[in-house]
């Protein structure tokens, strides 16, 4: 074989690809399921936390700030290993899927809260005063006046962060979640051929390039005001 044929055989072997495509297809479904769940629960958690924080109850806010800092500072893989291997010792057993979902929800929730809060702070104080003086209550002002503006402003940074965190679903392979990377590395070791890894890389590109483009479009559409 010429070096070129060897290269094609190692990375684009048609037989191997055909054989393992169904398994990697299953992985695609798992990756997308996990990603969608993480986005929904993570952003919901961030939103919930920012609403709590807006009430400015000192002890509650202190807890939220510590929570956000901790999950901004810890590598997600550390949390995944800690929950997956640590919890069974105290008789709590979570599946790999649940552990990755929980971890990434907490991480995205922390980042989303931080980003939403920056948005809330960037709405001028006068808006609070004006809204309250028209007779709106605190909750009404928050939900009808402040948050709609704050959230809109934070769309671009939130999109970027969400994409970055969603890609971490690949970490699931470490705790046996049958997502794309996991299926591909299994197939690679069975077949003794690198083609499944090529397919995995292409699968991730097919899923995430459109997302990155959508993110870029959103970024220009909701241009973030910089001071």
């Amino acid at each position: 074989m010429t070096p070129w044929e060897r290269f094609v055989d190692a990375f684009f072997n048609r037989e191997v690809i055909v054989q393992y495509l169904p398994a990697i297809g299953k992985g695609v479904v798992v990756t997308i399921e996990l990603a969608v769940l993480v986005v929904i629960s993570g952003i919901a958690l961030g939103f919930l936390l920012v609403v709590l924080r807006a009430y400015r109850v000192a002890p509650v806010n202190a807890v939220i700030v510590v929570f956000v800092d901790v999950f901004r500072a810890l590598p997600p893989l550390v949390l995944i290993l800690l929950l997956y291997f640590g919890l069974p010792n105290i008789d709590v057993t979570l599946s790999g899927f649940a552990v990755v979902w929980l971890t990434l929800t907490l991480v995205l929730g922390a980042f989303a809260e931080e980003i939403f809060w920056a948005g809330v702070l960037s709405v001028e104080k006068g808006q609070w005063q004006a809204a309250r003086s028209t007779g709106l209550g605190f909750g009404q002002t928050l939900f009808y006046v402040i948050l709609p503006q704050a959230v809109r402003m934070t769309v671009p940074p939130l999109t970027n962060r969400t994409i970055a965190i969603t890609k971490n679903t690949a970490l699931g392979t470490v705790v046996g979640v049958g997502e794309i990377l996991n299926q591909a590395t299994t197939a690679q070791s069975f077949s003794g051929n690198a083609s499944p890894l090529t397919v995995a890389a292409i699968a991730f590109l097919l899923i995430f390039v459109p997302v990155v483009y959508a993110g870029r479009w959103i970024e220009t559409r909701f241009a973030w005001r910089k001071g």
């Binding site: 800092d69 590598p75 893989l77 550390v78 970055a164 690949a170």
Partner: protein, 221 residues
């Protein structure tokens, strides 16, 4: 409660694991010293290529950035570490991690520098050029120093992400902080070494996260 303390905060086990975990920490520090400057430099090249007068180069860079923003770093790392040997290229874990991170981080840092360069008015470049500076000189001495200052919080934020990302090296058996802690965990059947690793990451990164929050607020997002 006692079980929780025994399994997660066992001081005896932490003390026994300390030498291993310490060596791991040193490897993490070494890894950071290698990959952070590489990424900062690679990103700078990406951003400068983005302003180049040749269309083919700008397009190449756009495709490069999109690809590496879309591929999870762990997929890239495993492709390089486990895939390239099939092409006869066998890399040490350290080399594989460095290359994967260079490719991935250059894309991210590059986007940040690009935003910084775009935040500087076109008039600055024109003024600099009209004083007789070459395009490269104007970029180096006039545009970049201002651009970098404008995006300092984003550069710092991405650097925090890079430090956290070094934990992925454990997957290719590079004995850094997380790998060492997980080794100790699998020997002792006790999660305390991982808790210790988590506390070390926190001790290093929490002050930086706090500083970043203040920096962001001061620079007025």
């Amino acid at each position: 409660m006692q079980a929780l303390i025994d399994q997660f905060f066992n001081v005896q086990i932490m003390a026994d694991a300390w030498p291993t975990v310490w060596r791991g920490l040193m490897m993490t520090v070494l890894l950071c010293i290698a990959v952070i400057p590489l990424g900062l430099l690679g990103g700078l090249l990406v951003a400068m290529a983005n302003t180049a007068p040749w269309r083919w180069l700008r397009w190449t860079v756009v495709v490069y950035v999109d690809i590496f923003r879309a591929i999870p770093p762990l997929v890239l790392l495993i492709f390089i570490y486990a895939g390239l040997p099939f092409a006869g290229i066998r890399l040490s874990p350290f080399a594989a991690v460095s290359i994967a991170f260079l490719l991935n981080n250059s894309a991210y840092y590059g986007e940040i520098y690009r935003a910084g360069i775009e935040s500087i008015g076109k008039g600055q470049m024109e003024a600099a050029r009209s004083t007789g500076l070459s395009g490269l000189q104007a970029m180096t001495y006039v545009i970049l120093p201002q651009a970098v200052r404008n995006v300092l919080p984003d550069l710092l934020s991405n650097t925090i992400e890079v430090v956290k990302l070094t934990s992925l090296a454990s997957v290719v058996a590079l004995p850094e902080l997380l790998y060492s802690a997980d080794m100790a965990r699998s020997i002792t059947y006790n999660a305390s070494p991982i808790v210790m690793a988590a506390l070390i990451y926190l001790a290093i990164l929490w002050p930086v996260v706090r500083f970043l929050s203040r920096l962001e607020r001061r620079m007025g997002a």
